[in-house]
């Protein structure tokens, strides 16, 4: 194995172990939250709501909940680990090593994307206890899963480098990420909104992620899944390039 691969795998492994070894912090919260979502929104409320886009409400919200869990966990993993490493300075163990900047970013992002994918899968499994979950377009589901977790893991890198305090991360999560998700078509169909609001909603990138994953599970989408996938993949590449450039410049890392 080459020196580069060994270095990459060492950092990747460390980042994965960090979340695997504290399941109460990483897997238990989304488990409980999603059991509550499916019970309250899916079962209790869902029974009083008509079908949306031709599917029962509980099935309609499932892809959105998967997206919500996957991206917030991917984002949290990179943003928290990088910020925490800066805060306690142990990120210097990585920074003073011969890993290339691209390798550092790659390992942080992949570990976070894996966490996002595990949580997303966990949520789909919870959903399967409440309703029959099928996967109509598995390739699309995998493609969207990879792209959105990688995108939010890469965005988390920027956040982790930018934050000066733990409050900054909480603020990003509460005031930016969460509203985008809630207005991103997780709980309602775009068609139910007035035309003007629909147009504004199309500026929310979350719409494309939720619909893409919904297309994977149910085979229905309110926007073109191929265009969504292309735009999201392009965005991911751009954010990854920004991550590497920030590491190279030492933004938030070096004086």
């Amino acid at each position: 194995m080459s020196v580069d691969t060994t270095g990459f795998l060492a950092l990747l492994r460390r980042e994965i172990l960090r979340f695997l070894r504290r399941p109460r912090n990483t897997f238990l919260p989304p488990f409980i939250t999603n059991v509550l979502y499916f019970s309250v929104f899916g079962v209790i409320l869902g029974e009083r709501i008509d079908q949306i886009a031709g599917v029962p409400y509980i099935l309609f919200i499932l892809p959105g909940l998967v997206v919500l869990g996957a991206i917030s966990n991917a984002f949290e993993n990179t943003s928290f680990n990088i910020f925490h490493g800066r805060w306690n300075r142990y990120i210097e163990e990585v920074l003073t090593s011969p890993l290339s900047y691209g390798t550092m970013v790659g390992a942080y992002v992949l570990a976070a994307a894996i966490r996002g994918a595990i949580v997303g899968t966990l949520i789909a499994l919870i959903g399967a206890f409440f309703t029959d979950v099928g996967v109509v377009r598995p390739l699309y589901l995998v493609a969207f899963g990879v792209v959105i977790t990688a995108l939010f893991a890469s965005l988390g890198v920027v956040a982790g480098l930018w934050a000066d305090d733990f409050d900054d991360l909480t603020m990003l999560n509460q005031f930016i990420l969460r509203p985008l998700v809630f207005f991103g078509g997780v709980f309602y169909s775009l068609n139910e909104l007035p035309a003007a609001v629909q147009q504004v909603s199309l500026l929310n990138p979350m719409i494309y992620m939720v619909n893409g994953v919904r297309y994977g599970f149910l085979g229905v989408s309110e926007v073109d899944p191929n265009a969504s996938l292309a735009v999201l993949a392009g965005l991911t590449v751009v954010v990854l390039a920004i991550d590497v450039a920030l590491f190279r410049r030492g933004y938030g890392l070096a004086e």
């Binding site: 194995m1 080459s2 020196v3 580069d4 060994t6 270095g7 795998l9 060492a10 950092l11 492994r13 460390r14 172990l17 960090r18 070894r21 490493g85 306690n88 300075r89 142990y90 210097e92 163990e93 990585v94 920074l95 003073t96 090593s97 011969p98 890993l99 290339s100 410049r249 030492g250 890392l253 070096a254 004086e255």
Partner: protein, 319 residues
Amino acid sequence: MEPAIEIRDLRKSYGDVQALDGVDLTVPRGSFFGLLGPNGAGKTTFINVLVGLVRKSGGEARVFGHDVEDDYREARDSIGLAPQEFNVDRFFPISEVLEHKAGYHGIPRERAAERAEEVLKRVGIYDKRDTRFDWLSGGMKRRFMLARALITEPDLLILDEPTAGVDVQLRHELWDTIVDLNQRGTTILLTTHYIEEAERLCDEVAILDSGRVLDVASPEELMDRGTDDVVIQLRDEPTAVPDFTAHDDRIESVDLDGTRLVVTARQGGLVAPDVVSLLDEGGHEIVDLEIQRTSLEEVFVEMTRADEDGRATPEVASR
């Protein structure tokens, strides 16, 4: 062969503050090199430029011929750093922290585990291998910092205040370990507040103050610039003593207090025999003689104080 460290006109500024103000320095391969300076002299900034934690504002810095920015991977691979501040991953047990660090340097997992065992034994904390860093005592933390610097078998070991806050016994143990490494060919760069440490260990020291190198010399050469006291106890109180200063311009002053004669001179050890023979010729009987060598610490304080005075003058004049 390329020197271990080669620095030309290195600069680092933070706004108006010049942390490094045109540093030139060469650290030969295999040497035990000391970097001395008061707090805020720029020692840690200097080290951090080499490992990539500080981006230089100007000048050149090479480690074994590798530019620290253009060839950062090669430069960093050759350095083992034990910083002054504890910057350790506190989530994992210390043996795993070492294995991770080895991994980043491309050492395969099995070999990394062996290396971790070796270095933990070497610094004497192998029985704490499953403990997290936070649960180590202060002395063990210092030992661990050295272990982490050694895990990658570096050609250049940089120790930033390695014995800060450790007891005498541990200090000597750490000294023994690094002297041994140096004898096996590892280049050592040491910064320290304990001047005695530099005096005892280093082949060469650079005195750094306010971001500039004031001097580079061996501790002996530096000490020769200070004055020693040759203290002589005479049997009888003399009525007069020979004019020593006329015989040797290294002698700076002579002080007689009853039967106690103190001759203050540069290179006191070389001056003492002449003083003794002059006294002998004059018929004075000597009962005791002691040479009080100046310490590197005194020379250091003198140099950095002189530098401060030198810098203070134009500022005052400009007001």
